[in-house]
């Protein structure tokens, strides 16, 4: 884990010292400098490509540059996401970086980001706490956070606490649960209970693992006094799948909502589908979540996971809009018992959805059979 490397900690310490020492106007330059050093140290082979993309994004107020840069970022993301699709390894954190650059390009074209200097963009793109595993930030909020940043004992204390929480989640919870999930070896799953144990362990492992990375990113950012967005908000306590996606990987959910779901829905409203809004929502959810699946990797498992969530969200949308008022207005509908049951049902659906995500497609199919029909896998 890069976050616990002495080199990473040394770079953060250097960045912290420089950030605290320079006047506010130079802070972006400091972040850009240490971000570049960090990227050279950990992904030196990709640094030129990444800096070129950032430079290109800096000029994306021009239509041709915007299209070219956007297409290049999308193309690279697709190539890197195909297993064995590229002869070289994906640049560090490129999944997150690509969505952040696309956000800049789109918003510059929309005029919502007025001026963005190369240094500001480099500081944003290579901000070292968030370059490893997100969260996906928005440029205006980030520049505002940098301008408002205050290096103080309060922030150091809060940052260290958040880092310790992240380390506990990762090293104690996630990595221990990972040993149980590692029992998923074809031919060794010995029954229904074993299969469910592995899947439940994975459900909590992936949450603690990913939430830990977010805690670490937020904690290290907080050391500098920079606020970055939260990514998780007790997702397994969601009462429905829609709420789940407002609590799970929040920055990704919001990104795809803004740049895939809403534009897709808007475009479909201009077609012959206009009289059928439920169908438009269904198609939009499916398109959006297949893209979410593909963002994790262009494999059958990730695509199936994305499509599964698209179907769940569509079903939830249809049920919610068609549900008679006599039911939704009933007192028990909003009771604690109903909420607890909803949480359990939502969690069960999400947990089953992790099966194609956690392993290859053939193993996932066999595991699902054991989970629901018993036997051995």
């Amino acid at each position: 884990m890069i976050f616990t490397d002495l080199l990473f900690l040394f770079l953060v310490a250097c960045c912290w010292g420089s950030f605290a020492a320079v006047p506010p106007g130079r802070r972006s330059a400091v972040l850009a400098l240490w971000g570049t050093i960090f990227y050279v140290a950990y992904a030196g082979a990709s640094v030129i490509l990444v800096i070129a993309l950032v430079a290109s994004a800096a000029f994306s107020n021009r239509r041709a540059v915007a299209w070219l840069t956007g297409a290049t970022v999308c193309g690279l993301l697709i190539v890197f996401k195909i297993p064995g699709g590229a002869p070289w390894i994906m640049p560090l954190g490129f999944s997150y970086l690509s969505f952040e650059l696309l956000h800049v390009i789109v918003e510059r074209r929309r005029g919502r980001i007025g001026s963005a200097s190369f240094v500001d963009l480099l500081a944003y793109a290579l901000f070292l706490p968030c370059r490893i595993a997100g969260p996906i930030r928005r440029f205006p909020e980030f520049t505002h956070a940098v301008a408002e940043a205050r290096v103080s004992a309060d922030n150091v204390y809060a940052g260290v606490l958040r880092i310790l929480i992240g380390l506990a989640k990762k090293l104690v919870l996630a990595d221990t649960l990972a040993l149980t999930t590692a029992e998923l070896i074809p031919g060794t799953v010995i029954g229904r209970q074993h299969a469910w144990t592995i899947v439940l362990a994975y459900a909590f492992r992936i949450y603690f693992d990913f939430a830990a990375y977010t805690d670490l990113a937020i904690g290290f950012s907080r050391l500098l006094g920079i606020a970055v967005p939260e990514n998780f908000s007790y997702p397994y306590l969601a009462v429905n799948i829609r709420e789940f996606w407002n609590r799970w990987h929040i920055t990704l959910s919001h990104w795809v909502r803004d740049y895939v779901f809403v534009p897709t829905g808007r475009a479909l409203f201009g077609t012959f589908l206009r009289p059928w809004p439920a169908l438009i929502a269904t198609v939009s959810y499916l398109v959006t979540f297949v893209i979410v699946g593909a963002w994790h990797g262009l494999t059958a498992g990730f695509l199936a996971w994305g499509a599964y969530h698209g179907i769940l969200l569509s079903a939830h949308h249809v049920i919610r809009t068609k549900m008679p008022a006599s039911i939704t207005d009933h007192a028990w509908y909003r009771s604690r018992v109903a909420s607890a049951v909803s949480v359990a049902i939502t969690f069960a659906f999400v947990a089953v959805g992790w099966v194609p995500f956690m392993t290859d497609f053939a193993t996932a199919r066999r595991l699902l059979v054991v989970m629901f029909l018993g036997g051995k896998s």
Binding site: D154, V172, T176
Partner: protein, 337 residues
Amino acid sequence: MRSRALRRLVVALAALVVIDLFEPAVLRSLEEARYEDPARDFRFENSDLFGLGPLVAYLREHPRGRQPRVLFLGNSVIFGYELSASDAVPARYQRFDGSAKVFNAAINGLSTASSLVIARAAVDSVDLTYALLGPIEAPVVLPILPRLIPVDDADLAQFHLPAPNRIEQLLAAPVNRWRLYRDGYRLQAALFGSSTRQFVYLHKGALARGLIARVRAEQPSRPLPEETVTITEPMADAVPDAARQLELRAQRPELWQFGDLARSRRKPIVLLQVEGHSKPLLTAAMADFNRVFAPQARVLFVRVPPQLTMDGMHVTSTGAVAFARALRDARLKDSPR
């Protein structure tokens, strides 16, 4: 608010400093209990590598134990595939030789070359080393070994191992003054025999019931069958000439490097050539090797009857007793110590 945060940071730092003062005593006590007590069977939990670095570090720091030390290296045959730690060959050997502290440092799938690299790091701190010759003697060493134990430059080059990161080493030097950080792995290995998470994983059922799992009870040994483990030590009549030695060295470089290691460090190393498991070695080659290196290094030819194995390769609990007894008998006959 500012002063409160500062105060908490200072208190946390002071607490770490105070804890660090007691760390060496705690570590010493835990390690002595794990590595010196002959009543405790030593084996890496679940055959994971985590405990290797701490074990080697302890042995190198304490080159003389309370009892003579016997180190077993090898793969699942020595580790004790499907056997509890107390039923594996090294633990059975310890029962026969109560005066020694036996370390079962075998790891499933460990190659002969990896055993050689581990032996180089630990041989000065043990009195006798048994190393199983594996089925494949390709010069393949676990790439993680240089991060766990000291590996000299010649081995790094010979086995194409990644050298330790110099920047990390440079940065680690000042940080290692914080003993709790430096000895984190050793503390865990001394406490749990493995990493904390591996311990929790392996004992989660017992932990959930509020109990600490104990070492499994020793399985009752069946009476040994008539056909038992036999050990022979081929010995040539005369030292082979230089050309023959060169030829043999080229054929089995790892084997001969074990011989060089035993001779240069003046520490006995016994290599176990198990029939049907180790890569075949001609009796004449064994005999020549033994003539060149005995008494420091020797190859013993071990024959395990199929009825004492589970699958033709891994010994049963009874087979482990027979194996250990045969080793003991071979040692008594002509002790290399």
